[in-house]
Symmetry: C2
Subunit: 185 residues, 2 copies
Amino acid sequence: MGVKGAETRDRMLDATQELIETGGYFGAGLNQVIAASGTPRGSLYFHFPGGKDQLVGESVRRAGRTIGDALEGLADSSASAAEFVDAVLRSLGDRLEESGWRKGCPVATVALETASTNDPLQEACSEVYASWEATLRARLTGRPDADDLAVLILALVEGALLLARTHRSREPLDGVARQIGVLLR
Amino acid sequence: MGVKGAETRDRMLDATQELIETGGYFGAGLNQVIAASGTPRGSLYFHFPGGKDQLVGESVRRAGRTIGDALEGLADSSASAAEFVDAVLRSLGDRLEESGWRKGCPVATVALETASTNDPLQEACSEVYASWEATLRARLTGRPDADDLAVLILALVEGALLLARTHRSREPLDGVARQIGVLLR
DNA sequence: AAAAATATGTAGACCGATCTATTATGGAGT
DNA sequence: ACTCCATAATAGATCGGTCTACATATTTTT
């Protein structure tokens, strides 16, 4: 793949990721993708012969890696598990508020939309969540019930993000942050 | 409104609720709604002059009341807060698994899909969540931080439900249930 | 090194299917 | 008789996807 082609491909993934985050699978219409990325329709099927599902699948996995890397970063710079979770909640809260309550979890909407109707995408979302769980678990080694705790923290963060976006308020994230100490004593 | 009309209206809401739960706002195409309910297309706009958004809005609020009532019931028959949350998780897990991983939270998908693009529906979802929060809060009176705890529990349940549906497994719900005691000591 | 051949990518018109919504008409209930 | 509601045909827009033509690189051949 040449330089030009890679750029076009990237611009398409960027636009899709952005649209998905705001409106999910159906919010990322191909017309909107090509309009937002400034790329022609035909090129889409050149770079993504699998069509929309391939495009969305790659976008989800890509977003999963981005968030995953951010998690690793926060884990490394946190002294305790409680501090780590607090940093995650604050960081995601900033992102959400600064985007005008548009950018919550880049996976959740697609995950729910496709859970029962699109196996390849369901699997992609499942794998992203599993990778995040693994990252959390790695930060909790040594604790008893590290497995359960990792799942619990991920559920807590995802749920708080859902409520915060729906209410258009940081309160759910802040409320969870205030109580996280009790859990990770 | 006559008896016949009310029945038709109800059948439409039933079908919409079912479709929404499986596939969200865009999973509930009007063609599917009328096919599943066996009602004619024109009648839809007779009973719901506001079109699809009115139909979905009423379905969401209706599902919100159904779940809310179930929460109240479980709250009444639980001896402690921890027992209550455990019962909620188990009940939702049963519902999810028995439906073939289709029926998670009847609000979450629509909430995420419409959060940034459809204010009336975003508001409907926000109000349903607020009502559930209030129910949880009522079961926690007496505790310090009852407000925070209600939000935390709702986030936990919503997050666990999202993960369980995505992974097609009860594990996230069970894992949270195992750790809930620590939180509500 | 110049020319020819091939691969890579762009570009947009176009297709059938599906979407929500509207309309006109006819029948059922009271 | 008059309201309530059912019914289907249809409109107009948008959806994902395909197609052909064209342009630009890159390699091969001479």
